[in-house]
Symmetry: C2
Subunit: 239 residues, 2 copies
């Protein structure tokens, strides 16, 4: 229960009450009046302002969806990813990815058969993609080991925020050794943020990047592309 | 790109370098050596430690589930609540409520017919209960106007955190006028936190509570219950 409130007010000594202020033998004595009252809050039991607070319980929701991701109870579609089977729910997939929404909104073979075959994604990557779809989360160790695969899968299924997270992770990892590899990856999946940062790196450390095997391979196998990359990095009309 | 790092080090003047420290006409001149280097971070592009961070994207997930709550696409069960129809997904209901899980895990009439009839919940309350199930959220205005209905529905479907939120809201609203009403509500739905606080209120303000119409009605209609309540509030073996 809230406690009664108490206020200490110094007595007004400016008029006619000089006797209240005693200075005696180097001691100053202050007289004051103390007023005590019970607050309205105490009579209503109210201690905080809850009235205008919406209810949020994100953690429990995500924990429950994590449970659903584990059990996949009431699933209505099966994915076969390079031979590995994954169950899932069309409702949740469609709510999260415009690509799945398009697949399950129309009379596609996948929608009618409740079966989806995927050969261009690694099963471990697909497992993490499903985890992200159901919970919005991916563990650090998986982000670390599967970043490029997750970026490609996120691009394929238009999972924008997963793509952004992978790009940020890779931007943090750019080095002379992987700069060209990341530029190829970024170009292949329209990862503009990653591409912009890899070009910045090339512009800042041209000698280091051009001394790598990646650069030599690109010059041999993709010389036209490498010309465009250099033009983008070193001219004033930078992307 | 990260900038090259620079360090300013004062020259060590303690040995044999007194000539570096010049005091002339009240001016102190300090000689120092400046060292500049490019950090490892600059050569790898790394500016923050992303490596050990899991990916969280709760807001987007909840926004997408809010979209699903609006459209109810791919729903597989229909509720008829006092004549009002609501679509929903067994998978999500089961993940969130043990009562729905039990209903849809077995061959109940509701599960087989994909139809659930509810007459003891107000349709507006059920709409907010569904919103909570899908998004973990309830707007402030609905929490305010539907608290007692939501508490009862949360109790019925074992939505623990919604029940707790309603109890906290009501504890904040306890007054002499509603103390008995809230004690009856708490008793009816095993809302122990609310009951404990309402008993505390009765213990603190017995005169105010016992002067209300609610007290008189309870004494007339539920005298045995009121004896138990007083025993709980005023004896040393408090609940």
């Amino acid at each position: 229960m809230p406690c009664p409130l108490t206020a200490f007010n110094l007595v007004d000594v400016s008029n006619n009450r000089q006797e209240d202020l005693l200075i005696d033998n180097a001691h100053l004595t202050l007289y004051c009046e103390i007023e005590t009252w019970v607050s309205k809050a105490a009579l209503t039991g109210r201690t905080e302002n809850f009235r205008d607070q919406p209810l949020f319980n994100d953690d429990e929701l995500i924990q429950h969806l994590g449970g659903l991701h584990q059990t996949m109870k009431f699933s209505d579609v099966t994915f076969t990813v390079r031979g590995c089977k994954f169950e899932a729910h069309k409702a949740i997939l469609s709510a999260r990815s415009p690509v799945f929404a398009a697949m399950f909104d129309h009379e596609t073979a996948e929608n009618l058969s409740h079966q989806v075959k995927i050969n261009d994604v690694d099963p471990e990557v697909f497992q993490e993609l499903l985890r992200f779809v159901y919970t919005g989360r991916i563990p650090a160790i998986k982000m670390k080991t599967l970043t490029t695969g997750l970026l490609a899968a996120a691009g394929k299924y238009l999972l924008g925020s997963l793509m952004t997270a992978c790009e940020k992770y890779l931007v943090n990892e750019i080095s002379a050794d992987n700069c060209i590899e990341l530029l190829i990856l970024a170009d292949g999946h329209c990862a503009d943020y990653l591409k912009r940062n890899a070009l910045n790196f090339l512009r800042s450390f041209p000698n280091e990047v051009m001394a790598t095997d990646g650069w030599s391979s690109a010059k041999r196998d993709h010389s036209t592309w490498l010309c465009d990359i250099q033009q983008a990095a070193f001219t004033s009309t930078r992307p």
